[in-house]
Amino acid sequence: MTTNIVSEKSQHKERKLRDYFTFNTDHKVIGIQYLVTSFLFYFIGGAFAEVVRTELATPDPDIVSPELYNQLFTLHGTIMIFLWIVPAGAAFANYLIPLMIGAEDMAFPRLNAVAFWLIPPGGVLLLSSFLVGAPQSGWTSYPPLSLMSGKWGEEIWIVSVLLLGTSSILGAINFATTILKMRIKDMDLHSMPLFCWAMLATSALILLSTPVLAGALILLSFDLIAGTSFFNPTGGGDPVVYQHLFWFYSHPAVYIMIMPFFGVISEVIPVHSRKPIFGYRAIAYSSLAISFLGLIVWAHHMFTSGTPGWLRMFFMATTMLIAVPTGIKVFSWCATLWGGKIELNSPMLFAMGFVSSFLIGGLTGVMVASVPFDIHVHDTYFIVGHFHYVLFGGSALALFSGFYHWFPKMTGKNYNEGLGQLHFILTFIGLNITFMPMHQLGLMGMNRRIALYDVQFQPLNLLSTAGAYVMAVSTLPFIINVIWSLTKGTQAERNPWRALTLEWQTASPPIIENFEEEPVLWSGPYDYGIDDEEQEEESVSDMLADVSAK
């Protein structure tokens, strides 16, 4: 089935360092390329955030000019979304999906390489906008402001996001096809790892929503360059239509950014607590439910935009409903931990930190779904706090969890456990000091995207800035750990965690063909503590019978 692709994979049998700088079609090379590139942009986007937080340490705009301030938060948002979290999710997907399902590569290896190679030009282009005056209308880029504040910076932003969006679409086509078509014979949909389910749901969302963003940006581009009036009110255009199109993509984008990492957490927690994942099907189907609901909630970003009342009520209801499948996941992870044999190593610390802080983002998420409350907090620091708990407390912590979990597999080296734990402690403390005070600031009356604020808000802002510096320091043990482990680290075993998913059945790092011979599926992905002889479904089906009897 998959043999016709092998020949394309590479010209030689040994993995060479220079492969990582070329148009290589091996999914493992592409996965690493994604991961390294995304982390380079993480440091750039992080540096921008540190400047923004430094500016906000005092109420006056005194560190950078107001224009530069707006450029910095615009690029911070754009980079962290399109060049860090989304490509980092694609990094795991590329590296892990073929290994997890026992395939030799992705379904379309060349398309896969093309998808990656759209990212570096997109990123460099975006940064080059500083030469002509970077965009300053926020990552949301609402017209008419985006049509009025620097034509070329804005156009560069549009082209860059279009490139990155295209990359994302190509990636999604590959993930979905590979998962559906290239599993080894014995692996049906319900015995594949939950990370694959998560990527299936994510891919569907990318394919359905990203083209709409592309359409919106192309029309915006016409308004900007050709002077059309799709969104420009001076020519009879409607700026609110842009908002609908933009959020039709950009709300699902939140799930595009978090669902791959839900998948990561579902892999990490069972392994390090030595228990089967609690409620496999519930977790798998809740991803699909989130995917579907995620498509019909977009106008919750527009409760103050002048949308009709009944429309606001509809979007409130659908948004609140997402709490149900999301809650199922959180409770299932907690139940997996319960009664297990928990090893508190770096992957597990980050995974438990994820559950803890994602929970906060989820709870405030239900609050902001409520229209009357959202009218108060929309466009305030409450929102900034909320989505950083989701995307940093959620996606980023899970990203680090997965990073440590698969580091031995990807590099063949063991990382330093002490540095990993230090990294976790600094990150976890830093993120809570940075983002928790933002909720109160927003409720009290501090709006977002401002360099100049009321003096009464200074103490909490100062605290938040201090937290941002702790987060900056937290990257040091991380960087040192990676460099130290790659150069001085001991050789990693094939399966250091005694995990059951297929990627651990091959060498660390895997050979170019992934597996020496076609891997055998000798257990389910999470059958910890289950003897082969026992009926695995016993308890569940018995209880089902109980329930229906009553």
Partner: protein, 316 residues
């Protein structure tokens, strides 16, 4: 341990409920309430806070308890129990959040309706009668929508207003016009306990009109009108903040809402009726001329209450 487990669970449950109920009422995170609507929004928020605190404590409690109770012993290579699920439990934790969000949605609907969010004119693009008229005039054909005509009334609240004020949002100031007296001002003065309706338009980009103490916010759009209705029940000065990114000096787009006694309000209107005619002419003259950023900011500095020191800093 001599105390049976279910008694500990019971005590923990009672404690958790008490803490949640207490924190839901005493979080102190909201600013002063200056209207009945604000009080209703706060009641809703307090309920959400109570539920959130409970869920927060349960999940964090499970995590912390697991770290201590279920920690792997050194050298233990065995697995935990092979439990793959529990359908009744899963049904419970699906059903409870469903019920909670159902209640929150209904409650939010009620509060939103009380705020005036579902008033007929605000939830439809055209008022019914005018739509009828337009159809008659065109022999059943719909007229083309003209955003500048002002039929469109979006926003929050549309009840019979005692006082209407026209609001114009421009980079980076708010201008208030009182149509009855012709007063033009950079600050908003309203009498207490009166139904106020703001008819808002933007001159350039999208702004948003936010008064935290009223818990109300509405975008102000170029090319179409939106409304903002409130009834302040507390005398005082409250900030009016632009909440939608509108340019480099977005953070400086602030002014004050003065909620006054009826007498003070009438006095203010009278004092300003004569002065405003001249000021209006000035404003118009300046708005029609092309301006540099500095001169524009300078012009509005008296509206903004920005002192010369901040201005000097902004110029850098």
């Amino acid at each position: 341990m001599n105390i049976p487990g279910n008694i500990i669970t019971l005590i923990a449950g009672i404690l958790l409920t008490l803490i949640s109920l207490w924190y839901g009422q005493n979080h102190g995170l909201m600013p002063i309430e200056a209207s009945q609507g604000a009080a209703e929004v706060d009641d809703l928020f307090n309920l959400m806070m109570t539920i959130a605190t409970g869920l927060f404590l349960i999940v964090q409690g499970v995590l912390v308890y697991s770290i201590f109770k279920f920690r792997r012993q050194k050298g233990d290579k065995t697995d935990g129990p092979g439990i793959e699920g529990n359908v009744p439990l899963e049904i419970v934790w699906t059903a409870i959040p469903t019920v909670i969000v159902f209640i929150l949605a209904l409650y939010s609907f009620e509060v939103y309706n009380n705020l005036g969010g579902l008033d007929s004119e605000t939830s439809r693009d055209f008022p019914q009668e005018e739509m009828q008229m337009a159809e008659n005039q065109n022999q059943g054909k719909m007229v083309a929508f003209n955003p500048h005509q002002g039929h469109l009334s979006l926003g929050i609240g549309n009840a019979n207003a005692d006082i209407e004020v026209d609001v114009n949002g421009i980079q980076y100031a708010w201008i208030f016009t009182y149509p009855d007296s012709g007063v033009v001002s950079g600050e908003l003065h309203v009498p207490i306990n009166k139904q106020i309706k703001l008819n808002m338009k933007a001159g350039d980009v999208i702004h948003a009109f936010w008064v935290p103490q009223l818990r109300l916010k509405q975008d102000v759009l170029p090319g179409r009108e939106s409304t903002f209705a409130f009834n302040a029940n507390r005398i005082g000065d409250y900030p009016i903040i632009c909440a939608e990114l509108c340019g480099a000096y977005h953070g400086g787009m602030k002014t004050t809402l003065h909620v006054e006694s009826e007498e003070d309000y009438q006095k203010w209107i009278q004092e300003n009726t004569f002065a405003s005619a001249q000021e209006k002419a000035d404003t118009m003259a300046m708005m029609t001329q092309p301006m540099t950023k500095e001169s524009r900011l300078e012009m509005h500095s008296h509206h903004l209450g920005v002192n010369s020191e901040t201005l000097a800093q902004l110029h850098h």
